[in-house]
Symmetry: C2
């Protein structure tokens, strides 16, 4: 039987990362290709207490259908958290989503016709790129520099793409590059979006992981014109398995995202929403975040030190947060061959071309993750990579 | 700011039911408009035990990222459950979804280009109709008779719609009509789909609620050709709040649904999947289903008896399962006025036109739900409706 899949998805392939992840579960593989939060970063004891309390005191609330917009108290909690970052405006509303990934899906469905353009940092997060592709939109990449997108190229893209609908930005510790967009560039991106009448989707899954340096204002905090959709997530600060994220955007936009969500999955699992809301309000959330920063700061330094010592030929940008280090291989080494040899030696890394607008663009980089492997695996994995480089 | 929403969603409105549901939460409103499982049907004590055990013994499994296809053990559990109904073929695979609603979303995204046609029973479930609409497909309704779709009209639709991609069928206790498609018509629908080379999406959220009569074979059980996508759900038999459903379909189709799901929400909440899997395997699932049948049998009889006694002017089909009774108002009564008066008198009902391909088609029916209201509310709500009819 020929199933004649739709044009928008017939070319869509499984994410290379998710495919590699299947191998990383195999015994003995060192998972530098993953993006999982460190297991020790989960507030397991608190979740155990909270779950018991919810199911003892209000089980029906945890098990019954709920409303599409999300648990009202959690929406208020998100509003309060994000007000501290000046990232909820008077015209904004909040929707709880099934992870921040769903914000990309809903935003694309609500805003883009087939053939429209989304402007992306290049490289960018493959999960988002694939979400955009699944609605048959065109991706226009703008080269990412060490302080954010190249602004001349961004403006050129805005001029050349009359059907551009939004600019997709991960301003903090970008996945995969680790780049943090400077304050100056955040302002410039906002002004360009405004001038060319396109929206911005600001995805900030890693903001709270900053283990070094001062936090920069979100682009959303500059949003006097109602042109920014902000995507946040509890995946990196509480648990990704519960699938609880959110979007903050002007009420009109949230209303449309809500209709799209209603027909996608009715609502986000309510038990997970209740757990997240209780953890943020009834426990010391700030102390927990401090602990996460400590864990990732330590693990990232461990990997960077190992790379500096063992793999001086690998070039990378020092990072101040996030979960990833983006490494350029020495010229003369074929990146795909290297990634293949690495996995044969039991180290899984992600080939950098997975993050480009087209996998066929030249790429000599790999993405390494330091949150999933144990400290011992970080050291031995970098050892193995160094063997492949010598 | 004019946000220029996409063509596919600019016309999409929130589901009338979800909107009415907001009122049904208001104190004093009798919720005949809802579709919530009865609170007493939830296995709350078991879920409390299971959750505690999972979080004590394997918290990381419940909180970490998981794979898009779903928890492998739960996929096997679903396979075993559905084998008993001969509804998993050798060529089939299983994906766990965020409720059965997501199966409609993913199937439409994977199979339909904009402008393609989906053939639906008329009336049909508004959540699915809106999911289809959100991809800008055309809905072609086929009148539903007391034993399933009118077959001549179905064949006419298949002839007249060369871009038909699938037939959407709820064969058991259809929402909203309560109709169960006869065995003869199940076979005929399958043969027509095969002859005209379209797929069938068989949605079976209520199958396990049958409180009277003998179960009929699923259309999926007849699927020798790999043309049926079967959608199932644990919402009505365990909990809708956990959002755990599934699709069974040929491997090629499941592979494409998996790619679409990956970019939609990465995976279904894993804690919920673990809870569902444990409940089915470690508890007496059959006894729990027997209890659910008992609850809904009793509540449906209570409502039908009250209707027979108090509202003889309302005509409805006797039902053998499901959560809904579809009532035709006496001619001369304006349906929308009636629904409005009912909610003013504190009884929320769903206007039947919500379930048609176009809300502007003539309709003199309303949908009543008996699972959400208490027994007392069933009696007093029907009393109030009878007052409006006299």
């Amino acid at each position: 039987m020929n199933y004649n899949f739709s044009k928008k998805v017939s070319e869509l392939k499984p994410s290379v990362i998710r495919e590699i992840l299947k191998f990383t579960g195999m015994p003995g593989i060192i998972p530098f290709a993953a993006g999982n939060p460190a297991a020790e970063a989960f507030p397991t004891a608190a979740v155990e207490e909270i779950s018991a309390k919810i199911l003892r005191e209000r089980p029906i609330d945890a098990l019954q259908y709920s409303i599409t917009e999300g648990y009202p108290k959690l929406r208020e909690t998100v509003r309060n958290l994000m007000k501290k970052q000046d990232s909820v405006k008077d015209f904004d509303d909040v929707i709880i989503t099934s992870g921040a990934q769903q914000v990309m899906n809903l935003s694309t469905q609500a805003l883009c016709n087939e053939g429209d353009t989304i402007i992306c940092e290049s490289p960018s997060f493959i999960g988002s790129l694939n979400a955009f592709r699944s609605f048959n939109v065109k991706l226009r990449g703008v080269p990412l520099e060490s302080d954010g997108m190249n602004l001349e190229e961004l403006e050129r893209a805005l001029k050349e793409e009359p059907k551009a609908r939004f600019i997709y930005v991960i301003a903090n510790f970008q996945n995969p590059s680790g780049v943090t967009t400077s304050l100056e560039k955040r302002k410039a991106i906002y002004e360009l979006a405004k001038r060319y009448k396109v929206l911005i989707v600001e995805d900030n899954p890693y903001g709270e992981t900053r283990f070094e340096g001062e936090a920069l204002p979100n682009i959303k905090s500059m949003d006097t014109d109602g042109i920014v959709i902000y995507a946040g997530s509890f995946s990196k600060v509480i648990s990704p398995g519960l699938r609880v994220g959110y979007a903050i955007a002007p009420k009109e936009v949230i209303a449309k995202l809500t209709v799209c969500k209603q027909v996608s999955d009715v609502h986000t699992g309510i038990f997970g929403q209740l757990i997240v809301d209780s953890f943020v309000n009834d426990y010391d959330f700030d102390a927990h975040i401090a602990k996460i920063k400590e864990i990732y700061g330590r693990k990232s330094r461990l990997m960077m030190q190992a790379l500096d010592t063992k793999c001086p030929a690998l070039r990378y940008n020092k990072i101040q947060g996030g979960l990833f280090i983006w490494c350029d291989l020495p010229s003369g080494i074929n990146m795909l061959d290297f990634a293949k040899e690495a996995v044969e030696k039991s180290v899984a890394v992600v080939p950098g071309n997975a993050f480009l607008m087209s996998e066929n663009e030249p790429c000599n980089s790999i993405r390494l993750n330091f949150s999933t492997p144990s400290d011992e695996q970080i050291v031995s994995g970098v050892d193995i990579l160094s063997g492949l480089l010598s």
